[in-house]
């Protein structure tokens, strides 16, 4: 069975690119969520093997979404990879303490993305 990956990012284009990348390279099933709320809903509604989470979202930033995911029993074990455009040391510090599975900086090379995700998924299994 192919892995299911949820991409939570408020940028449509980014979602499209990421989903396409993961589909093409990994052959995984992907779905996108426009906002943190939607993402949580979807995360709780269906089983996911990995969640790609944008850090800077207007309504609920990635950190909050992650905490929600962790709080929720159904979703707390799903590995989460953060996508962030913020590159400052302080920002990095803030998220590194969260305990996420991985952190990818934007812009990213699609190969790098796929590799990282695959890595996480391997670990997961």
């Amino acid at each position: 069975m192919s892995k299911r990956i949820l991409v939570i990012d408020d940028e449509q284009d980014i979602r499209d690119v990421v989903c396409l990348c993961l589909e093409e390279f990994g052959g995984w099933h992907t779905d996108g969520a426009e906002s943190g709320c939607e993402g949580l809903q979807k995360a709780a509604a269906e089983p996911w093997d990995c969640i790609l989470l944008d850090v800077s979202m207007p309504d609920m930033d990635g950190r909050a979404v992650y905490e929600h995911l962790q709080a929720h029993q159904g979703t707390q074990s799903i590995p989460v990879i953060l996508l962030t455009a913020k590159v400052r040391a302080t920002d990095r510090d803030r998220v590194s303490t969260l305990g996420v599975a991985g952190l990818i900086a934007k812009p990213f090379d699609p190969i790098t993305l796929w590799q990282k995700v695959a890595q996480i998924l391997d670990w997961a299994t």
Binding site: I14, A85, K106, P107, F108, P110
Partner: protein, 926 residues
């Protein structure tokens, strides 16, 4: 009405005395009058009676003598024929009885003898010897020694005694009157030419043979009777006269002869009695006449009178008592006595006058006594009164009072003296106190005046008198300023009465002024006046006490000082100008420096501190010098600070310390620079750099956002192109195309972003090369509208435009960009089917500007965001920008552009209804 004591004592007393005396005098006068009258009448009566008695006696003598002669003749002792012895006898008798005037004998034979008294001791004899004579009647004068009679009528005349007077001879009458007969007869004893009336008492005598011997008579001349009466008259001015009832005078005490004395031619006439008689009304005495008239009083004659009568007669101003009584006896004569009242009254009047005088004296005496008594009473009282008056008038020495005999008055006087003594003593004490006070006040080295309620000066002390050399003038409050010539300092304006300290003091104010001047003619003296009101126990102002000081010297001193001060200040100013400049510069520098400046000693204690409020001071702001700097810092920072200070002092180089300070829950960033000044002191400059941090933070954030915003499309571009480059999408041409589009779109997005950022930066740094030129607003609007028409259409939003023709001075591209941005936003946030309006117009706010409004029916903007939306990167809802494309810079750029043009941009909105964005631009000046 007040009465004087004296008058009160004297007047009633006088009135009483006079009244009583008067009444008594009058009454007694009246009774006296009556009494006098009674007495007078009594006297008169007595007098009359006396007279009558005398007269009776007188007449009785005649009778007696006649009777004696008759008896002698009848007894033979006398021979009726012997005329010689009869003559001697008669003469003897005449000598014996001076009352008689004459004697007569006539015998039957016709002899006649008449011896009459002529004067003292001489007689007249008339004899008719019938014996040997020729029968003629001869008259002889016989002297006292009855020797040698002198023949008076050498030729006698025929005379018949029996027919004498021929009409009614007495001889015949007597013959037939055995008891005797009284008869008036005319006698010619003095001669034929001197007839006289004589009252004769005839009595016939018988011879011893008891035959009629003859008639013997005794007679009284009426004049003699008159003389007799005269002798009887009391006093000088009285009268007694006898009158027949028919009014014929008989005799009168006046010298008047009561009968006709002129001899008649014919003998018969000569001896006619009746014709010779005079009526009383013919009397030569007016008094007699008047009396007779009054007695008559309407009666025809005197026979009808109610006798006795007592009358009062007023004749020629004299008052006479008149008494008329009839004689008793045969002769029914009326005896009328007239006595002037004064005769009677002389004594009485004398008495009366004496009495009156005595009364008057008594009156005077009692009045005098009364006056004296009154005086005795009033004098001491008056003296008391005078003393009291003197006392109340304020005389120091009271005139001494007279002692009085009256107990009460004396007690009063002593009491008065005592009281006066006490009062004088207490006045003296008061005076002493007053003089002490005056001395005190005069000793006061400041001119002082005391004014009464009307403003009049009651007291002016010595100093005051020296000042007011012109003396005290009489002036009430109204004229004070004018009278004393008080002016406002430095002007010729009379000091207003209402503001005069005296007047204000009298109103109860306490005053201190020094803006008053007094004009003494040659100079003006400025005064400082203080006034204090003095109240009585009822709170009314009694006096005002003023002190007025000559402040000429003070003013001069002030002026000098001012000048000096001015000079000094000028000098000092000059001197310190540069110093001040330096200090000012220094201070300006210090003030300009928004940092804490502290001169710190090696020990850590501050020596000087400036701008303490510039930073957040942990320690006691009120006593910053009490603790060391290190005590006022958290340990870690203090440690570092100390190190810096030591380092600075050691190396002589400036040390720097940046740190984070937590103060009252807030985090601040400060920078401390330690500058060594001397070997022991450093200058510590501490600056709050939180702003900088914030700015840095903002910049970081901006950079972060910008980088984020750049990285986001880059991610899409990198991803898309990466996938394409890997060739994994060869089999999926749609996907490949999609990736290409994504890359292209995001490239465009990046370009826009970069442009926007650059625009914003240029605007912010005012390096925006706005090329302003006059342009038509309508054109600009039209351009913007045409730019967004397509988008509007796509969005299904209708756009309505109401432009205006106006010339503005603006950069056309910038304005178009702004309008396009606003319109774009409106379209972006409007739902399909809604409307957008763009209206433009000229408004006066207050100057005329062009105002453009872009109104939409979007969901509106919350009120608290209306200003924030014009900030950078701010959006109402970030998600919108992501969806609609944009970095949130648009409105910020619009604001920058509009404000660069000198206009304004703002938004008004109602949630759920819509928003309107306004832009104003200045019009091109005409």
């Amino acid at each position: 009405m007040k009465f004087s004591l004296r008058n009160l004592l004297i007047v009633p007393f006088l009135l009483q005395i006079i009244g009583i005396t008067g009444v008594v005098a009058y009454l007694s006068y009246r009774s006296g009058q009556r009494a006098v009258q009674d007495i007078a009448s009594q006297l008169m009566t007595e007098s009359s009676q006396r007279t009558r008695k005398s007269l009776d006696a007188y007449l009785q003598v005649t009778e007696f003598v006649t009777q004696t002669n008759r008896a002698l003749l009848q007894s033979g002792r006398l021979d009726g024929t012997d005329l010689g012895s009869l003559q001697g006898h008669f003469m003897q008798q005449l000598e014996l009885f001076p009352e008689l005037s004459g004697l007569v004998i006539a015998n039957e034979a016709g002899a006649f003898l008449n011896v009459t008294r002529q004067n003292e001791r001489s007689f007249a004899v008339r004899r008719r010897n019938i014996d040997n004579a020729d029968g003629r009647l001869y008259r002889w004068w016989v002297g006292a020694n009855s020797l040698q009679p002198t023949l008076l009528d050498p030729v006698g005349y025929a005379y018949d005694p029996h027919r004498d007077p021929p009409q009614a001879p007495w001889y015949r009458a007597a013959e037939t009157a055995p008891e005797g007969l009284w008869r008036l007869v005319v006698t010619l004893e003095r001669g034929r030419n001197q007839p006289q009336l004589v009252m004769v008492r005839f009595e016939p005598f018988m011879t011893p043979e008891d035959e009629l011997g003859g008639v013997v008579s005794t007679g009284i001349l009426l004049t003699e009777l008159g003389k007799f009466l005269q002798a009887l008259v009391p006093g000088q001015y009285g009268q007694i006269f006898l009158i027949e009832p028919n009014g014929d005078l008989v005799a009168t005490s006046t010298e008047e002869v009561p009968f006709e004395v002129s001899a008649a031619v014919s003998h018969a006439q000569n001896v006619a009695v009746q014709s010779r008689r005079l009526g009383v009304a013919e009397s030569t005495s007016g008094l007699t006449r008047a009396t007779a008239q009054m007695l008559l009083d309407g009666h025809s004659d005197f026979s009808h009178l109610q006798v006795p009568i007592f009358l009062e007669l007023r004749f020629e101003g004299q008052r006479y008592f008149v008494q008329a009584t009839p004689l008793t006896g045969e002769l029914n004569w009326l005896l009328v006595t007239i006595i002037p009242t004064s005769e009677f009254m002389e004594d009485i009047y004398a008495n009366v006058s004496r009495t009156a005088l005595l009364c008057l004296l008594a009156l005077m005496g009692s009045i005098g006594l009364g006056l004296w008594t009154a005086r005795a009473i009033t004098q001491p009282i008056l003296s008391l009164q005078q003393a009291t008056q003197a006392f109340t008038d304020g005389m120091a020495v009271v005139p001494p009072t007279q002692p009085s005999y009256l107990r009460e008055v004396e007690t009063l006087r002593q009491g008065f003296n005592h009281m006066v003594g006490q009062l004088v003593a207490s006045f003296q004490r008061l005076k002493d106190r007053e003089s002490t006070l005056v001395t005190l006040l005069n000793g006061v080295p400041v001119p002082l005046s005391v004014h009464d309620q009307t403003g009049q000066i009651l007291f002016l002390n010595t100093k005051g008198q020296e000042l007011l050399v012109n003396g005290i003038a009489v002036a009430d409050a109204e004229q004070l300023a004018a009278t004393y010539r008080l002016y406002r300092a430095g002007s010729d304006q009379l000091y207003p009465t209402d503001e005069l300290p005296v007047v204000r003091g009298l109103r109860g104010e306490t005053v201190d002024i020094d803006d008053i001047e007094i004009d003494l003619g040659d100079r003006r003296i400025p005064l400082a006046v203080s006034t204090i009101p003095v109240y009585n126990s009822q709170g009314q102002v009694l006096y005002s006490i003023n002190t007025f000081q000559d402040i000429t010297e003070r003013r001069q001193t002030e002026r000098l000082r001012a000048n000096y001060q001015q000079e000094l200040e000028h000098q000092v100013a000059q001197q310190t100008a540069s110093l001040a400049a330096n200090e000012a510069t220094q201070q300006a520098l210090i003030n300009a420096i928004p940092d804490l400046l502290m001169r710190l000693g090696k020990d850590g204690l501050p020596r000087e501190i400036y701008n303490l409020e510039a930073i957040h001071w942990i320690g006691d702001r009120a006593h910053p010098f009490n603790a060391t700097m290190y005590d006022n810092l958290p340990d870690a920072i203090a440690e570092e600070r100390r190190r810096c200070v030591e380092q600075a002092l050691a190396t002589g180089t400036i040390q720097q310390q940046e740190y984070e300070l937590v103060y009252e829950g807030q985090t601040f960033y400060e920078e401390a620079r330690i500058i060594p000044v001397t070997q022991d002191e450093v200058l510590v400059v501490v600056r709050d750099i939180s702003d900088r941090y914030q700015v840095d933070r903002i910049k970081d954030e901006f950079i972060s956002i910008v980088s984020h915003e750049l990285r986001t499309p880059l991610t899409s571009i990198r991803g898309g192109l990466g996938l394409l480059a890997l060739g994994v999408l060869q089999d999926r041409p749609q996907k490949a195309q999609q990736m290409l589009h994504i890359a292209l779109d995001n490239t465009e997005r990046m370009i826009r972003l970069v442009n926007d950022i650059l625009d914003l930066e240029r605007l912010a740094s005012s390096q925006a090369d706005l090329r302003v030129e006059p342009c038509q607003a309508a054109d600009l609007i039209a351009q913007a509208v045409s730019g967004v028409e397509a988008i509007a259409q796509t969005a299904g939003v209708s756009l309505q435009v109401a432009p205006v023709t106006a010339m503005v001075v603006a950069d056309p591209d910038a304005i178009v960009q702004t309008l396009t941005n606003l319109l774009g936003n409106a379209i972006k946030f409007s739902d399909p089917g809604s409307h957008i309006w763009l209206t433009a117009g000229i408004v006066e706010v207050p100057t005329a500007v062009l105002r453009i409004a872009v109104k939409d029916q979007g969901r509106g903007i919350p009120a608290d965001r209306l200003e924030l939306i014009f900030e950078r990167f701010h959006q109402v809802d970030v998600s919108d920008s992501r969806q609609k494309g944009g970095a949130g810079l648009g409105l910020a750029i619009c604001k920058g552009i509009v404000e660069q043009h000198g206009g304004e941009i703002w938004a008004e909105s109602q949630l759920g209804v819509g928003s309107t964005f306004y832009v104003t631009l200045p019009l091109k000046p005409t």
